[in-house]
């Protein structure tokens, strides 16, 4: 398997630069209703997760209550308010993947990584999540490593996939 897995570059910017970038993103969306989800998505791209202080910043800049921002960020499993590992593994448990063994993949990963679903390894390398459908039913069972979709995953080959993340 030859796959390029992209890594986040959140370590390379200073805190002030990150905040500036967030403010610019919000300005770009000004006047466009219903853009909170897109903004949070981009912000999570900057931080790797959505720290509460940053959600407060988004709330202030967008002039919407932080209870609403937090409500959205806790509704969608894609958003995380905890720091995530360098690689986020998302196992698809939508119907097609589930019947083709998605649950077994998730189980093996919890054993291999030694974390529960939603958790991050102590070395901050991997975060494990499950999703209810990533829209790749034809490739079932599928999972994602950061933004790459892994098709027809064989539970016995998980170690190989993890080894590529270096």
């Amino acid at each position: 398997m030859e796959v390029q897995i992209s890594q986040c570059s959140c370590g390379k910017e200073t805190e002030a630069e990150k905040r500036e970038r967030i403010i610019r993103i919000i300005e770009d969306f000004r006047g466009r209703e219903g853009s909170l989800i897109q903004i949070l998505h981009l912000v999570q791209g900057i931080y790797g997760y959505l720290p509460f202080e940053i959600q407060q910043l988004v709330s202030e800049r967008m002039d919407i209550p932080v209870s609403e921002v937090y409500g959205v960020s806790t509704f969608y499993s894609f958003f995380s308010s905890q720091p995530r590992g360098e690689y986020t593994i998302r196992v698809c448990l939508g119907t097609a993947c589930y019947v083709r063994g998605g649950a077994e993949i998730a189980k093996r990963l919890t054993q291999t990584l030694g974390v529960e679903v939603g958790g991050t390894t102590p070395d901050s390398k991997f975060s494990l999540e499950v999703m209810r459908c990533i829209g790749a039913c034809g490739l079932a069972p599928a999972m994602m490593v950061n933004d790459k979709v892994m098709r027809q995953v064989n539970p016995d080959k998980l170690k190989q996939i993890l080894a590529m993340c270096d």
Binding site: F52, Q55, Q56, E60, I64, P65, V66, S67, E68, V69, Y70, G71, T74, F75, Y76, S77, S81
Partner: protein, 596 residues
């Protein structure tokens, strides 16, 4: 008009009306739970489902608009079965501890059960985690009792524009609350309690302080003083079966005496006093503005502690616009422990002051450090109208059989100007009656002293008039056109504050009450409170005013006696010490308060 068929009968409805409303108008009641007239129509609970011909599935009648020729069935086997299952599923995640719930027999969920009649609990499964947030002195939130109807979210976000409550998380883990599981005391909640007023169950309640008051009443060493806000006397009767708008001032005074309170005082007395202080404060500011001095205008009233907390969070840089007057019950508390304590020769430490308030924010207000005097609270406990009613019943007092009692002096006499403090526009009207007369020596130029433009339930009300024929010492105000505005509810307050922030405030004097309609529909009032009930209470308030022989605060002889004997003059040294206060910059996320 739209014509439709409901349960085989021809019915008519206004276009745009929901099926549920149309049915109600045609005398068919569709059971519902989360729907709340004028407030909340989102179809969250689905209890109001009906069959509509041509629709594949059952439809939530509170959100489906009527259509010409629509055929609706509200009482079929399919509808009844769905309703029952929905109810049972909700019940399966409810504590069912009704006997120990404050909403027992006043719970909308319980009432619905009476109608649906289930004979067993068929679904026993996991219960979502219960967390009780009793961090604030005003509002207690019990997520275990919450049925996720979202009415509180609508009120908090769309009616009050505060937005501390929202749905957090998802699915079975959903919980209504502030962001990041923060306790209410740590966020920008105004403690207005409007969420409590719409909660169908006991998930949101006012903190119960009745036990504290019983203990004081049972303590022979304590002199227990009670005072009642203007809005209590027109609402308390509802708790004893009187129709909304019944005035029960006399029975209330008798019941309080029977409960064991040593002095039954009236917050209306200090409402009159507030007008004298606040009126002079306004005149000083207006004078300064017109004579080239420094003056912060518009001046904004400060009687409503929910409004005060809101403005401290949202507009911390504009607190100078607030009148420095304490709210009337805080003034009475301060006077009870100084002026009155001196008069009767009792150590203020032995005095326990209880305020009966239509308000949940007042419970918080008495805990503000600025309200303490030599380390001692000036008001020791605040009870809501609902708590008082429970205590009267608990004491075995037959409220309806009470004689028409009276308040005690010297802190119990009031004019009609004080009565109207309970409704939106009342403080402004009372202030203008006094200010105009002080300046001109004549009555305010409105028929029968009724300043009708500032009355009623509109969100922002305005009035203006020109001062003519001034007394010599107010010659600089000759020809000055005073422009005032009145708003109730925090959304309206935000609008007026934004004008100030934008630098173009068109007014000189603004009255803000935190709850829509004013104190008559405060967070501590009897449930339910809806538009019709608000109107009835408001009418009663103005009737109380109209029936008084004295209707201007400066005509209150006991207030004048207080100045003569004790305070000296309005805004004098003693007044500043006892009757005025200052405010705290808090910041939107309460960040300033956390630091201090």
């Amino acid at each position: 008009m739209v014509t439709l068929t409901i349960n085989g009968k021809q019915a008519t409805a206004e276009p745009g009306m929901s099926v549920l409303e149309a049915a109600k108008q045609n005398n068919i009641l569709i059971p519902h739970l989360c729907y709340l007239e004028d407030v909340h129509q989102v179809g969250a609970c689905r209890i109001c489902v009906v069959e509509i011909e041509g629709a594949r599935t059952l439809q939530a009648s509170c959100v489906v608009p009527v259509r010409e020729g629509m055929v609706v069935r509200t009482n079929t086997a399919k509808v009844k079965e769905a309703r029952k299952v929905l109810y049972e599923l909700m019940l399966s995640d409810h504590p069912r501890d009704c006997l120990s719930c404050l909403r027992n027999q006043k719970c909308e969920f319980q009432k619905l059960g009476e109608l649906i009649q289930i004979s067993e609990f068929r679904f026993e499964g996991d219960k979502s985690k219960t967390s009780v947030d009793s961090s604030s002195p005003s509002v207690v939130r019990n997520s275990g009792k919450c049925i996720l109807c979202r009415r509180c979210i609508t009120v908090c976000n769309h009616i009050q524009g505060v937005g501390v409550l929202n749905v957090q998380k998802r699915g079975f883990k959903s919980v209504i609350g502030p962001a990041n599981e923060l306790p209410l005391n740590n966020v920008n909640c105004s403690f207005c309690g409007q969420c409590i007023m719409v909660c169908p169950v006991g998930a949101l309640q006012a903190r119960d302080d009745s036990e504290k008051v019983w203990q004081a009443l049972f303590d022979p060493k304590k002199r227990v003083i009670v005072q009642t806000a203007p809005a209590i006397r027109v609402a308390l009767g509802e708790e004893f079966g009187y129709p909304p708008g019944t005035i029960v001032t006399g029975k209330m005074a008798s019941a309080l005496r029977e409960m064991g309170f040593n002095d039954v005082f009236d917050t209306n007395f200090t409402a009159d006093l507030t007008i004298i202080e606040e009126g002079h404060e306004f005149l000083n500011r207006a004078t300064a503005a017109l004579t080239g001095g420094e003056a912060v205008l518009p001046m904004i009233t400060s009687c409503s502690p929910g409004w005060i907390k809101f403005v401290e969070h949202e507009f911390p840089r504009y607190l100078k616009h607030l009148s420095s007057c304490k709210s009337p019950h805080m003034m009475l508390g301060a006077l009870a422990k100084t002026y009155y304590a001196d008069k009767i020769g009792i150590d203020p430490k032995d005095i326990f002051v209880v305020s009966i308030m239509p308000c949940t924010a007042k419970k918080y207000e008495i805990t503000r450090p600025e309200m303490f005097m030599n380390g001692m609270p000036t008001v020791d406990a605040v009870l809501t109208t609902r708590e008082l009613a429970r205590m009267i019943k608990d004491a075995g007092i037959e409220f309806r059989e009470m004689d028409e009692g009276e308040f005690d002096n010297p802190l119990g006499f009031s004019t009609g100007a004080a009565d109207i403090f309970g409704a939106t526009g009342g403080v402004m009207e009372a202030a203008l009656r006094t200010v105009y007369e002080v300046v001109t020596g004549r009555d305010v130029p409105f028929e029968h002293l009724d300043i009708t433009p500032v009355r009623g339930l509109s969100q922002v009300k305005e009035a203006s008039f020109t001062i003519e024929g001034t007394q010599p010492e107010f010659a600089h105000l000759e020809g000055f056109t005073v422009r005032v505005a009145v708003t109730s509810g925090l959304t309206g307050a935000r609008k007026l504050m934004k004008q100030i922030v934008d630098g173009k405030p068109p007014y000189h004097f603004i009255e803000v009450m935190g709850c829509p309609g004013g104190c008559i529909s405060g967070g501590g009032q009897p449930q339910p409170t809806n538009r019709a009930i608000r109107m009835a209470r408001m009418k009663a308030i103005y009737a109380e005013d109209a029936g008084k022989s004295k209707r201007k605060s400066h005509d209150n002889p006991f207030v004048m006696q207080l100045y003569k004997e004790y305070l000296g003059k309005p805004l004098g040294h003693k007044s500043h010490e006892l009757l005025h206060t200052h405010y705290v910059e808090r910041g939107r996320h309460n960040q300033f308060a956390i630091k201090s």
